[in-house]
């Protein structure tokens, strides 16, 4: 458990930067401090926000063209030559089109490549299912040697991108398109591999990442009105998973909901339930995309339609608590 502030006060929605914007800022700052950082983008730099780095360091930025597979291979070659490549595109394109390359040229030789994608999940919105990545966490988690992270807000994104830049080895970070509600205070410690207890509670733990951390906080408020005390944990790092925090929360609350903007197959839910079933079995319910592709629409509407809202998390929490009482 980290020393995060644990709050019970009503949550106030304050929109911060999109996590992709926070990535762009953090990357530019990293570039100032470390001349080994090289950034590659497959022609989406204005969307992934690597454009901020490109403006400051044009000699260390390459738009490789619409060629993700080659981009990953280039990163492998750069990393083996001592550079620290950050490579970016939309999550679906980089991970799916570059997957064999991520496997062979990055994961297997354990090279110092940072893969930071934008447009994770269905909050991409109107562009529709071809642009909405719901599989990337599953795919990246199954690659040995990769750390896999889905940050929830601007502060944690900045902290995690900065830490990744200074940590040897392959790291995957998924950012999102829309503005993200502020979850963490500017002084909250955020470390790779360490979950953050955002709100304490005694009846159920809501473990979430990305935009679903905010929804989980709203759900906890709803549940509190019903007399259910819900803890909220920001599990930004899927791999390596903070098992000790999961166990302490399982001991403290005896039930879990895992919520993520990803397929229920192979994401945070799978990782958490695998850990809990081994270490401290408790009822676990899952909020995520139910083995389907989504569609075009406004992100809020899509969250409702595909079951990713606070109401869905609260409903899942009621189910988990009920199972516990049996």
């Amino acid at each position: 458990m980290t020393g995060a502030v644990v709050t019970r006060r009503p949550v106030e929605k304050k929109l911060g930067l999109a996590t992709r914007d926070a990535y762009g800022q953090a990357l530019a700052e990293l570039g100032k401090k470390n001349s080994k950082i090289v950034v590659l983008d497959a022609d989406l730099s204005s969307s992934t926000r690597t454009s901020a780095f490109a403006k400051l360091f044009p000699e260390r930025f390459f738009n490789v063209g619409i060629a993700e597979a080659n981009m990953v291979g280039l990163a492998g070659g750069l990393a083996s030559s001592g550079k620290i490549p950050f490579i970016s595109s939309f999550a679906c394109f980089l991970v799916c089109k570059g997957y064999d390359q991520l496997r062979m040229a990055v994961a297997l030789p354990k090279l110092n490549v940072k893969v930071v994608t934008s447009h994770g999940g269905i909050s991409v919105g109107e562009d529709g299912s071809s642009q909405q990545s719901i599989e990337d966490v599953a795919l990246m988690s199954s690659l040995p040697n990769f750390t896999v992270i889905v940050p929830s807000d601007e502060h944690s994104t900045r902290a995690l991108v900065t830490e990744a830049g200074g940590t040897e080895g392959p790291v995957y970070i998924r950012t999102g398109r829309p503005k993200a509600p502020v979850i963490h205070g500017p002084s909250t410690p955020v470390k790779m591999g360490k979950g953050i207890l955002v709100r304490s509670g005694s009846d159920v733990t809501l473990a979430a990442n990305g935009l679903l951390v905010w929804e989980a906080l709203l759900a906890a408020e709803q549940l509190q009105k019903e007399g259910v005390s819900a803890a909220v944990v920001d599990m930004h790092t899927i791999k390596p998973l903070d098992e000790s925090l999961l166990v302490s929360q399982a001991e403290a609350t005896g039930a879990f909901v895992v919520a993520e903007e990803h397929s229920v197959w192979g994401g945070l839910g799978s990782a958490v339930s695998q850990a809990l079933s081994r270490l401290h079995p408790v009822p676990v319910e899952f909020v995520g995309i139910q083995d389907t592709y989504a569609e075009s629409g406004q992100p809020e509407e899509l969250f409702k339609k595909y079951g990713l809202t606070a109401a869905d998390i609260a409903q899942a929490a009621r189910r988990a608590v009920k199972r516990k009482k049996k």
Partner: protein, 277 residues
């Protein structure tokens, strides 16, 4: 070198003789006449880099690295055995001196471009040599990398295609003919030469010409014979991915020593299996 390949594959009882033998003269040229390296300091930052994009041809690379002093000659007899550093396809976890882990075709040129690009950024004068198979140019990623290198004028990158005209299931011309091959690369802004890939003087001369030519990446199309040096393996695609039996290995070794009698006897006895044409 060819004899090492035969001995290694006989012991491992699996592996790819054909493409190792076709690449033998190219790899020999690079390791013993061209490249700058120090086996005692394998990560020397000014070394020339060699990427074996056609990872299945690794027996010939291992033979060269052992002869160059990267590891003991005795390792060669452990090829493909559990616990051996000599993996079935090159794996940097086991031999950190390798420049890339390969075996999924079509990727080595991208990695080579990354290495060459780092050299440009760091104003280094090392060269990056990428040995590719003809078959792997059927992979789309190859052409992403070809376009990248041409556009970025990576003139310290020298790719060599071991053009032995065969892939696993048969001849390129019957499966996915990449001709006109030279013109394709030239249209992607590469400087292209064609040589007899079994003539070491021709290979060396082409590399010298590539070094002298600035402003473009270089391709050397090395026309080769799959299985070169062992008559019953030459252009016999059975030996793409099947190791020789001990009888075959004995005949091959004798032939490589200048006495083809055992090979001729095998052929005459109808004992040589034939692959797809």
């Amino acid at each position: 070198m060819r004899k090492e390949v035969i001995r290694m594959l006989e012991k491992s009882a699996s592996g790819h003789p054909g493409g190792s033998l076709s690449a033998a003269d190219i790899v020999t040229s690079l390791y013993f006449n061209v490249m700058r390296y120090d086996p005692k300091n394998p990560h020397w930052e000014d070394r020339d880099r060699f990427v074996l994009s056609k990872g299945h041809g690794c027996p010939i690379l291992y033979a060269a690295m052992a002869k160059a002093g990267y590891f003991p000659q005795e390792w060669l007899s452990t090829l493909r055995k559990t616990g051996s550093p000599l993996q079935g396809h090159p794996d940097q976890r086991f031999i950190p001196a390798l420049e890339a882990s390969t075996g999924s075709l079509g990727q080595g040129l991208s990695v080579s471009c990354g290495i060459a690009l780092a050299g440009v950024m760091d104003k280094k004068d090392y060269r990056t040599y990428c040995l590719m198979s003809d078959g792997e140019t059927e992979e789309g990623q190859t052409w992403e990398a070809v376009a990248f290198a041409g556009f970025h004028k990576l003139d310290r990158l020298i790719a060599i295609v071991d053009y032995n005209k065969f892939q696993l299931d048969g001849a390129l011309k019957d499966i996915l003919d990449m001709e006109p091959f030279k013109a394709k690369w030239e249209s992607f802004r590469w400087h292209v030469q064609e040589v007899d890939g079994h003539s070491i003087p021709q290979v060396l001369q082409a590399i010298e010409q590539a070094k002298a030519h600035k402003g473009q990446p270089h391709l050397i199309i090395a026309h080769t014979v799959k299985g070169k040096g062992v008559s019953f393996m030459e252009n016999n695609n059975y030996f793409h991915g099947v190791a020789p039996t001990s009888e075959e290995a004995q005949a091959a070794l004798k032939e490589l020593d200048g006495d083809p009698s055992l090979s001729q006897a095998l052929i005459a006895a109808g004992k040589v299996k034939k692959g797809s044409k």
